[in-house]
Symmetry: C2
Subunit: 660 residues, 2 copies
């Protein structure tokens, strides 16, 4: 007989949902969420089972137990509320409930008028046995019951009533015999984040381009002055590219030319110079104190400052001299610069994660994160995490979040799908997506269905960016202003988390460096910019409006309820989001054609929206502030890209019925 | 830093297919099968990976390695042939291949006309390093190559040619540097069975009803005389209900009456009497020697005898006295008989698997199996395995098959789907199915798609029974002879494994005991029967024909290629099976309506059948021996239940094109 076999263990617990890769990775939730868990639980034979969902905050030695409910087809369900940030674990126990089995059989025998005299004696045995585990008062009651079931003086019908009584069932459940209980072999983790992990509105800006007068290098003080502008538009995360000293060796010139002019500022991602590395501030931006002041000011505006974590070095980074062992040296005595042949990035040295001294390297990189955490930063956008080992991130994020569970890490991995998902599984709080390149209806529908209606939604929180300093896509280049409006509405309503790279976005900057790449012409990655943010052509007011709609409508603050509805026009896309109680239902229709007016009939899944087939309902377009009276599933829409390319309807409360 | 983290390990191996429940259970294959395995294999960054599939027979300490091939989207594939019965394990290794990365980058740089002088020096380093692992002769070659790459006398273009040469790639692959190789954390098992596990044709018969004259109790010698009959019909497994002594206490009478007449034989499943228990033969059937002789005779006819494993006891079973601790005792001093209230089986005591002495019980039950194995039995049909613990079966089957990998266990679990699948996963070779009650087109299509086109096919081998001694379904009762023909064709062509309970089946016995249950009237479970097997109304010839078609057409000897094709008539079902090389393609059309002629247009998936749209092809009906010339996907069929309710077409070789 195998050592790990226990003859009495008869119950199987499997098919747990949610559970990622057999419990290898956590699922994600937000403080206050109710977490419902299901499992297949079954045994041989006809015995009645009882099952419990168990959970605890990590570090807490005691499990809290919640009874599970039987659904159908051997499926059980239980739920609990996660009330704090951090990591919880959950697992299950199930046992053959001999008393409940006895009670069920007794019921059937009574119904069939069978002799139950021996059954009553058996019941007495079960009660006696359970009474030994009971508190004194309960034990007394139970012993009396057992007595009654055995007594020849009590009428059989009284015994039966007692045996089938609810009070006995309740007390026996309390002291249920768990000999041979099956405990689930795994303890999956749920990482609980703060609300902002689910709902955030990002604005990316180059601090050095925030100066109020042309030609001057912007500073943190200039950024302070920009805060009202950002806040009024409705953004709550202000993300800066790296703010550290920039290397001089092999510095890139304007438009990524290999040789810089003396006054070219270089790219902020070529981190490190004589003035310091990842823990220093670029002198032209100001001081560390200035930065801390900016963080505090931003907080007053309801804005969090997010920093860029780009673990790479310019040739002038102090690490190169102090820790040559963290870099890859070539036979000619040079350090291997970053390359993806035939592309070369001579101004950047990747760190060598296969170094023998990898432990010291990991610790140093963690100390970089903690340094900025100490300055008050709680959100990091991580540059190219897919070019560093998975195990490094799993360790780093896990370790940092032990002490700071409120930290948000956004993965900037534009790479193959399995790698993007892996990074999300191992701990990244939010992730960049393919949204940036998904412009047509079938692509958007397929991709966002995968993100929100499969297991992916358990671990991958999309953050949608229509543009970035690296990516000006064909759609924006070709479509201009109407295209920018369309993409903004899509990003802000398909994604509870979204961001734009501004002011390029609101100013509809759509000039490319060349046809082949998606680089901006005169990209501010390589030069200072002066943006005319007061331009009358700015989308500032439209963005303000969309962000206000997001704040006022909780349906748009989560992605899980996203459902697509059909429209008989390939240029029109229609989808809805709603709160769980259907008190807030939003229906979005967007014209994907930036050239022509498009019209069509939407065909709504009314059930999904909590609407009756027979009843008319009102839809209020929050963008145009117009109200329409609709009825049934088929309704007409018409959108002109030269005016507003989208409807964001709120389906009118008054005529909406509750779904529960 | 966590102890189990190794900084250099960068590769992820996941998404393995086939793999059941994260490797918790084996997949199943047949000797000679090629097993193809796929996995997602990826790392951070842009490095080139190499991967190997590793396999070994269990007990063999050495892994055999097969290189894996990259498919697309981080998916890799490898395969190996299982050549022996028993258990194999497979797993994976993958590593960053620095030489292949170097070679790929070199190619790109050469194409882009970039300077490669330092790259060539790096190549020399890789070769030197690998040469230290190389056999002497290879090492010499490699050192010469390294020399050339470094030499200032060799022309750069010669060096490039050498660096990109195939011979260098081959030799470097042989001595690839596997520092930081990722080894897959699991070693899934494949259980390899003999051919009969996949393709078998069962005939169930009560030996006691095989006597040649009325009223006499049949014997093993009578069974010998029945062998030609069974063999001529084309059956290769002859399955007997329990052959052990039958208890007298609480013996059931005819038609399951609670009190038996003195000459009632009792049910064979009430095992055990003064004459012995599970290791004894019922005296009226003959002796153990007679049984062994029968097995040997059967073998001459190409028939294997299968026994029933019913682990339960009559009140007279020797175990009850010798091992009272293996039974559940009630407060009134009686043993708990089998019941599923309000149903009672007073002639049967279940064994108590929750007994404290479970280990002794398990061992004894295993000795029962081994006893019959020693008599020459290699196939067991297991009665109600779902009423005994899963862990017991997993242990029993695993342990027995260690020494006897040729043994086949058929699970007779007619219960909830998850339990049936669990039993298959834990080791049962074949399983009874819901086929017995699936009579209409959508049910059959849905169920057999689930069985053959999902992961279920990796562990669950269906064995299809249109009837059993316990089940005469409505369809057979109401439909009579045409219904029996229809169900036979369905069973024999949907299932490579199928069986009938005869002679009830071939004689179209369709009288029920009552309306409510599926019990036969005058069931031979409770009495001796005399079947008129020579009846002119017997389906004997039809069965012979169907079984011959099965033997002659390898397409019907496996279930994995099963595909349904649409027909514009709900009463007609159409499906195909084919060999992997398409050398044998069978198309079946069955009329599910036993009353009326039905006709319609089938709409074939030609691609599936290896047929051209433009080309006509011949279909040869193997039942009616008629040939039709068909073209394209839509073709007309017409089936009359009063004649033959099915077509079994072989699609004519000559015009079939190969699929590879």
């Amino acid at each position: 007989m195998e050592k790990d076999v226990e003859g009495g263990i008869r119950i199987v617990i499997e098919g747990v949902k949610p559970e990622i890769d057999g419990g290898s990775f956590p699922i994600k939730r937000i403080v206050g969420d109710e977490l419902a868990v299901e499992a297949d639980i079954f045994a041989d034979g006809h015995d009645v089972l009882s099952a419990a969902l168990m959970y605890r905050k990590e570090g807490d030695p005691n499990w809290i137990e919640v009874p599970m409910e039987f659904l159908a087809n051997d499926r059980w369900r239980g739920s609990f509320k996660v009330t704090e940030m951090g990591r919880y674990r959950y697992t299950f126990a199930a046992w053959v409930d001999r008393f409940r089995t006895w009670r069920q059989n007794l019921t059937k025998k009574v119904e069939a008028n069978q002799d139950i005299s021996v059954d009553l004696l058996e019941g007495a045995q079960f009660i006696d046995e359970a009474s030994q585990r009971a508190k004194r008062r309960d034990a007394g009651t139970m012993r009396e019951w057992a007595e009654s079931l055995r007594s020849t003086k009590v009428h059989p019908s009284t015994k039966t009533r007692l045996g089938l009584s609810k009070k006995m069932a309740t007390l026996m459940a309390k002291y249920s015999h768990r000999r041979f209980a099956t405990t689930y072999s795994k303890e999956p983790v749920v990482v609980v984040d703060r609300e902002k992990a689910r709902f955030s509105t990002w604005y990316e800006v180059f601090p050095r381009s925030c100066a109020s007068e042309p030609g001057r290098h912007g500073t943190f003080k200039d950024c302070e002055a920009r805060l009202p502008y950002v806040s009024e538009m409705g953004f709550d995360v202000l993300y800066f590219p790296p703010i550290h000293p920039i290397g001089r060796t092999n510095r890139k010139g304007k438009n990524n030319t290999p040789i810089a002019e003396p006054d070219d500022p270089g790219t902020p991602w070529a981190i490190g110079s004589e003035e310091g590395g990842h823990k220093a501030v670029h002198p032209q931006l100001g001081t560390l104190e200035d930065f801390r002041r900016l963080i505090a000011k931003a907080r007053d505006y309801g804005i969090e400052v997010a920093l860029d974590l780009a673990f790479q070095c310019s040739p002038d980074h102090p690490y190169v001299k102090e820790h040559p062992e963290w870099f890859e040296w070539r036979p000619d005595g040079t350090v291997q610069y970053a390359e993806n042949p035939p592309k070369k990035y001579q101004d950047i040295y990747p760190v060598e994660f296969e170094a023998e001294q990898w432990q010291a390297l990991w610790k140093e990189l963690k100390s970089v994160v903690l340094f900025w955490v100490e300055q008050g930063v709680r959100i990091f956008r991580v540059d190219n995490p897919h070019t560093k080992p998975f195990s490094f991130w799993e360790w780093l994020i896990g370790d940092v979040k032990k002490d700071y569970p409120d930290i948000i890490f956004l993965s900037e991995a534009f790479t193959r799908p399995k790698i993007m998902y892996r990074l999300a599984k191992l701990g990244f709080t939010q992730s960049y997506t393919y949204f940036t390149w998904r412009n047509v209806k079938w692509e958007l529908t397929q991709y966002f269905t995968e993100l929100t209606q499969t297991d992916v939604q358990e671990f991958f929180r999309p953050n949608l960016w229509p543009n970035t300093p690296d990516i000006l896509n064909d759609y924006l280049r070709d479509g201009g202003r109407p295209a920018f409006m369309t993409r903004l509405v899509l990003a802000g309503t398909l994604g509870a988390n979204y961001g734009i790279y501004g002011p390029a976005f609101e100013l509809c900057e759509n000039r490319r460096k060349d046809k082949e790449s998606e680089e901006y012409l005169n990209s501010e990655k390589y030069e200072l910019k002066q943006w005319d943010i007061e331009s009358p052509n700015s989308l500032r007011d439209f963005i303000t409006q969309v962000n206000l709609i997001r704040r006022e409508n909780p349906a748009l603050q989560s992605d899980l309820s996203l459902r697509f509805h059909s429209v008989d026009n390939e240029q029109l896309i229609c989808y809805s989001k709603h709160t769980e109680d259907l008190s807030n239902v939003i229906l979005v229709v967007v014209n994907l054609d930036y050239r022509y007016k498009q019209s069509g009939w939407v065909d709504l899944s009314l059930e999904e929206l909590g609407l009756d087939h027979g009843q008319p309902y009102k839809v209020h377009d929050l963008l145009a502030d117009a109200t329409y009276r609709w009825q049934g599933s088929r309704n007409y829409v018409e959108l002109d890209p030269q005016k507003i390319p989208a409807h964001i309807f709120r389906i009118h409360q008054g005529i909406t019925k509750s779904r529960n």
